[in-house]
Symmetry: C2
Subunit: 391 residues, 2 copies
């Protein structure tokens, strides 16, 4: 196991009606002037935004609002948020929504206290300082409610990149599974896929003998395998929603990923798809992961055989472990299709003729020099082949 | 799933040579005058205490020392530590050792800022305020390095009780698996047993449909099943030690225990044994758990069958699930014996004739009124029968 520091000081407030405590938690974490940051209509229509505001009013906490976060959140709104916070002396950024709203809130929080262009962080500069962030989560997916990460798309060139730093870990996150029962099945399935991707990206390690984190990842994958179809079948199944929500948070707060190298190339390869076509990140991952896994399979057949047996219930073929390894990938692919995810470029709305452009941005965009590193280092040729497998 | 708040802001610093960073972390968490609290000879002999002091010296941090913590730490030394901290204006308590040193340090940290008798907390009063605590861990066992809990024995009547409160969660914990390689096999096995008890106590729940935490607990039990015999066979196996150490911390920081009722009656029943006979807590648990589990089996046969199948690899007997459930308890018992744990009162040094006294303290001691509650509420008659099963 590699040396590591694990510091996850987010206070998770989980369960029914917990959004009514938002104001109390902002107070506990010393917020006095808040930017409430959210996306579009659903948090307004559902009455959630009003309930959150009421809880702030009850504590006498002042706030300003900035809505309009899009899926695959854009740098333009981040700049707008930074200006607003400076003008209004905001000291706490509250995201109400999913990963997009949270990631946008984190970018604003980091940008407000930074003299340069906030995009520097998305070109690789570590975030060391930020306003406090809190979240009220409305979809189990990105894990951003418990992570030090944020992903933003720069409009110029549609480049999608991530930034990181403990300073943007939320001080608290309100997790009410009931808020996710109104999600369309497709969005729920995208969230499920994203959570499972966070687990697979950690599972694909080059560190040996990390049984404890292997087992924890498998535990969360098994949970998703069991609970995913239950929420697709019955969106109002609170218990299934609750199990998925905690699994999603634990999948990405890194308690199951410490002390081991991780992959993140499926995420990297997908990011160009959702940046260019504005498809859902989870849907893009559903098409990307089976292709990437198949491409890198030979790098460590036993690792893929392990997840096939332990998670997907495949029988180990001791004479031909690669058969088992492939069965596991196929089982995962079939699972994703069964919950309604796309299987190829066509179903995703992506185009074969864009592949050179995708590879160019992926391998040569901000801060990259011809390849992406992870479980296996992939160069432009590798990435071209992988995108072609997705057609 | 039940509503819950999960807040685990301990910074875990894991890996080789990390004890040399102790001073740096005390500084990060605002300590300026430290009480270094430890047990007996091993941390002195091994040179660990000197390395820790050197790291404080390098940061210019002043300290006083209080050694002499015994296994099953006593209230007498806690009072002494409280007086010393007051006299010396200590603002940070650093435990160097195992669960006993850490629990004693937590009691001191809470007692210093409390006007009444610190034992009030061990009679049920919640700890709301305390000096900051940090730890350098030398045995994977109690999980106290990441928990809000402390267990102390009051000399008068030899009553062993626990106290709790987020204020005594360590600010940081240094976890270097190398420090555990010099432990005698028996102590290692006691630690393994304690960790598995923390998992079983959470597994035995009356909350339904908590798949995510069931799976996380099973993941950690499977890790212990795999790694335990590896450290007994080869004490210098760093990787096995590392897997156990992280499993031990995750087993007890409650990330796998949230949103569900828990048991803790095996701990309660054992505490009277280690209080009276001064046996190792883990050894006491090894004798206690199989008896308790067998006694409460019929309360939820399927729960015991589940752990039998998923962790111990038993075949499910679909016509007679109680057979599978019992096989799981037997497999666990055999595992404990295989790593060198005692199997009964005689091997533990406990005496049948003391049972009435044990039951009296257990069910009528400080704050109890004739029974202990958990997975199943157990009255004096139940507890008598359970102790008798352990003869």
């Amino acid at each position: 196991m590699d040396n590591f520091e694990f510091y996850s000081p987010t206070c998770f407030v989980f369960g029914k009606d917990t959004e009514n405590q938002t104001g109390k938690y902002i107070k506990r974490f010393n917020g006095s002037k808040v930017l409430i940051h959210y996306g579009g209509g659903s948090v307004v229509r559902s009455g959630l935004l009003d309930r959150v505001k009421k809880s702030l009013d009850l504590e006498g906490i002042a706030y300003v609002e900035l809505g309009g976060v899009q899926p695959n959140p854009r740098s333009g709104l981040v700049y707008e948020g930074i200006e607003l916070c400076k003008k209004e002396d905001v000291d706490f950024v509250l995201a109400v929504g999913g990963g997009s709203s949270i990631d946008s809130a984190k970018a604003i929080a980091a940008g407000v206290v930074y003299e340069g262009d906030f995009w520097d962080f998305y070109k690789g500069k570590r975030i060391e300082e930020a306003l406090s962030v809190g979240t009220v989560l409305t979809i189990a997916a990105a894990g951003s409610e418990g992570s030090p990460d944020s992903v933003i798309t720069k409009e110029e060139g549609m480049i999608k990149r991530g930034a990181s730093g403990d300073a943007i870990r939320p001080k608290f996150s309100i997790l009410n599974p009931s808020l996710t029962t109104t999600l369309p099945a497709y969005q729920s399935a995208c969230g499920i896929t994203d959570i499972m991707a966070h687990l697979y990206e950690r599972y694909l390690t080059n560190t040996e003998e990390v049984e404890v984190t292997d087992r924890l990842i498998e535990a969360l994958l098994l949970t998703m395998k069991h609970e995913g179809p239950r929420v697709i079948e019955d969106p109002n199944n609170y218990e299934a929603r609750a199990n998925i929500m905690w699994a999603g948070t634990m999948a990405h707060n890194n308690s199951c990923g410490v002390g081991r190298s991780q992959d993140w190339n499926s995420h990297n390869i997908e990011h160009e798809l959702s940046a260019l076509y504005d498809c859902a990140h989870g849907a893009g991952l559903a098409v990307t992961m089976p292709a990437v896994f198949t491409y890198v399979l030979n790098h460590n057949i036993m690792r893929f055989a392990k997840v096939a047996v332990r998670v997907w219930g495949c029988q180990m073929d001791f004479e031909h472990p690669e058969v088992t390894a492939k069965e596991g990938i196929e089982a995962f692919r079939n699972y994703l299709i069964s919950i309604g995810m796309p299987r190829n470029f066509a179903e995703l709305g992506a185009k074969e003729e864009d592949i050179p452009k995708l590879v160019e941005i992926l391998c040569r965009g901000d801060g990259r020099e011809g390849s992406i590193s992870g479980f296996v280092t992939l160069n432009e040729d590798d990435c071209t082949k992988i995108y072609k497998m997705m057609i």
